[in-house]
């Protein structure tokens, strides 16, 4: 089993490289890394999970340019049920465009029916609590803008915090097993139930997480905090 990390040389902010590392430790999968100048392995190989994490604004354009030739391959992978996870602002790269401070529209890959805005003088920081079926997901957001468009139910249904934008409940985008979320950081480490769900999609039967007891203990504490109505959700 292989996990492919796309463009880790620029998609590595906020501790997100721990996601593929943790999933590998929980599954015994091999982690393979593909740089901007290489052809992604998933185009020709059987990859259990393709992962890409948060990058800089300049990095978003580099990812767009590097990935464009493989967009059809990703479409085919997704139609076939392949599992893919994008975190943070990578979601915006697969939208139609990013509008910067109401001035310039930067075209993106157009896989998702969304567009995004970017306000470099603002930083939207929040906690997040949401649901994926009966799984509760807790996480963090930190971004320069939001996304807009019809994403159906999205990836998560928001309980507290902003969805794809502060006005909607759906958070992220989901197409079959292609999942993209604005949540950042070590999402899999801090959300053991979601991680088990992901591992099952990847083909791991009855997954056991690395340091599961400690992970669950920290997760339960966080859920309790995030469920406290007195807890502020924006920073």
């Amino acid at each position: 089993m292989k996990i492919e990390v796309l463009y880790p040389e620029i998609c590595n902010l906020f501790g997100e490289l721990m996601n593929p590392e943790y999933l590998a430790r929980c599954s015994g999968a091999e982690v393979v890394r593909t740089s901007l100048k290489e052809t992604p392995r998933f185009v020709t190989e059987d990859i259990a999970l393709v992962y890409m994490g948060y990058t800089t604004e300049r990095g978003q354009e580099a990812v767009r340019d590097a990935f464009r030739p493989y967009l059809d391959a990703l479409r085919k992978r997704t139609e076939a049920g392949g599992v893919t996870l994008f975190t943070g602002n990578i979601l915006e790269v697969f939208g139609e465009y990013i509008e910067t401070d109401g001035k310039e529209k930067i075209p993106m890959l157009g896989l998702f029916p969304i567009h995004s805005d970017r306000h470099l003088m603002k930083r939207y920081n929040s906690l997040y609590l949401g649901k994926l079926g009966d799984i509760t997901v807790a996480g963090f957001k930190s971004q320069f803008g939001h996304s807009y468009g019809d994403v159906g139910e999205g990836l998560f249904t928001t309980t507290r915090g902003p969805g794809l934008n502060p006005g909607v409940k759906p958070e992220g985008v989901r197409v079959n097993n292609l999942m993209a979320t604005y949540l950042i950081g070590p999402l899999t480490v801090i959300n053991p139930p979601f991680t088990k769900y992901l591992l099952k999609l990847m083909g791991v039967e009855d997954p056991v997480l690395a340091f599961e007891d400690a992970a669950m203990d920290a997760y339960n504490t966080r859920l309790e905090e995030f469920s406290d109505p007195k807890r502020g959700f924006t920073y």
């Binding site: 943790y22 901007l36 800089t56 690395a210 203990d217 959700f233």
Partner: protein, 472 residues
């Protein structure tokens, strides 16, 4: 651009407004003291509220040096102020205040008379990177130091490329930049400005591949090509070139060489000569800070001999590192900075490389964050907790609101579970210390005011426990 043009004498109604703001804000200074409030921003906030252009009109010294960057700006500013004062200058500074625009306004208003005359001949101002756009339109520095740029608080600073972009648009075009040649991110800021570079030549312990989790420059910043490091100190700090486009680290104008932490000396070489300096600290980070300060003093026209004399009595600020032998153990306070993977990684690296057995109290929580929300823990996964798997680290206690997050992080870092305790309450955590004779007890703590206060309170308990353990 005429530098004096940034210090505008107010006229007409603007003068009325300015002087009202100056006098009202000056009044708040003794009021804060009487009421025992520690509001270092408050007088500046009052001034800018009453007169939004306050920074434009308030008097300032003839010569201004600003210091910015992710880490080391406070240490470098303090070193500069101490040296310049020892050299006989009257130096305005914001070491007791904050480094954002209102803090700088506070420093300037307290540094001038009621008739708006500066009492100082120089200023050394630490400026927060994010405040640059609100400071530099009004404050026109002769020199600006950028210590380095790393990822910092992700909520505020996002990432170093963003901060570099911020700085690119902030500095007046004739401000001379003093830059770290060993940092390919900050050394490229504001390329049109006049500049000199400092850096440290190859040192014992340098590596080529990155051994840190946090690496803000994995590829060439120009073309995303492969970066080859001739030597790397830590993270992305070192000397490198790009295989694809030829981009490379700049040459040093001020080179630290022959760094010797055994006899605590470093040779500093520049176009005007060379001299051997006493090291103020054996941590590489502080060696950079010292070299930076020496480079600034050289740029101010001082000779190596003069600077050597000025460094003789210098010390690193105690609030960041405080060691004391109590009973049978050493108790060491090591500020690590919450939410900052770089500062914490450097602190952890420093601690693990110290000789002997250690016991650690991990309390780098941001207690101010916990009042209103829940601290974002993403940074823990950019921080080198892996170094704590060293066998000489005998015992670690995770404490504070994020204790369970630290515990999980340590397990994932390869620290054996039987070496780690997890105790929510900081004072109860102190009770868990083994205080084995001959051990160094390190307290790693956060930098926000609540965390600082908590750390020093817990330290009192640790000292008492260490004393009692020795008496038993």
């Amino acid at each position: 651009m005429d530098k004096s043009s940034t210090y505008v004498k107010p006229r007409g109604l603007a003068a009325v407004r300015f002087f009202l703001a100056l006098w009202a804000s000056k009044l708040t200074v003794p009021l804060l003291k009487i009421t025992r409030h520690n509001g270092t921003n408050f007088p500046g906030e009052v001034a800018m509220k009453l007169c939004p252009d306050f920074l434009k009109y308030v008097a300032r010294p003839e010569k201004i040096i600003t210091v910015t960057g992710t880490d080391g700006k406070t240490s470098v500013s303090n070193l500069l102020v101490d040296m310049l004062e020892s050299a006989g200058h009257r130096v305005l500074n914001n070491r007791m205040g904050s480094n954002i625009n209102s803090g700088i306004a506070t420093s300037l208003l307290t540094g001038c008379t009621v008739f708006n005359r500066s009492r100082h001949d120089m200023a050394v101002l630490e400026v927060d990177e994010r405040s640059s756009r609100r400071v530099y339109p009004y404050i026109h520095p002769d020199m600006t130091v950028i210590t380095n740029l790393f990822r910092d608080s992700l909520m505020r600073n996002a990432h170093p490329e963003f901060i570099a972009g911020f700085l690119n648009e902030s500095f007046p075009p004739d401000t001379r930049l003093i830059l770290n040649a060993d940092d390919l991110i900050s050394s490229g800021v504001a390329p049109e400005n006049p500049r000199v570079y400092f850096g440290i030549e190859r040192m014992e312990g340098d590596v080529v591949a990155c051994v840190n989790r946090l690496n803000d420059l994995r590829v060439c910043p120009k073309c995303y090509g492969e970066l080859i490091f001739e030597y790397r100190r830590y993270h992305h700090i070192g000397r490198a070139h790009c295989c694809d486009c030829g981009f490379s680290s700049p040459e040093y104008d001020y080179a630290g060489c022959e760094v010797n932490t055994a006899d605590m000396t470093m040779l500093v070489r520049d176009a005007g000569g060379e001299a051997r300096y006493r090291l103020l600290s054996d941590s590489v980070f502080n060696i950079y800070n010292e070299l930076t300060a020496i480079a600034v003093m050289r740029e101010l026209g001082m000779s190596h001999g003069e600077i050597q004399k000025l460094t003789a009595g210098l010390k690193i600020v105690e609030s960041r590192y405080k060691a004391e032998h109590v009973g049978n153990v050493d108790v060491i306070m090591q500020m690590s900075k919450d939410r900052n993977p770089l500062a914490s990684s450097r602190a952890i690296d420093y601690v693990t490389h110290k000789p002997g057995d250690k016991e650690l109290l991990l309390m780098m929580n941001n207690l101010s964050d916990e009042v209103d929300w829940s601290e974002n823990v993403c940074w823990l996964y950019d921080c080198d907790f892996e170094f704590l798997a060293d066998e000489r680290v005998k015992h670690i206690i995770c404490t504070g609101p994020r204790a369970k997050d630290y515990y999980l992080r340590l397990l994932l870092a390869g620290v054996p579970g039987d070496r780690v305790d997890c105790v929510r309450n900081e004072f109860d955590a102190a009770d868990k210390l083994h205080l084995t004779p001959g051990t160094s007890v390190y307290m790693l703590y956060g930098a926000d005011n609540r965390s600082l206060s908590m750390a020093f309170d817990v330290r009192k308990k640790v000292m008492r426990l260490a004393k009692e353990a020795a008496e038993r």
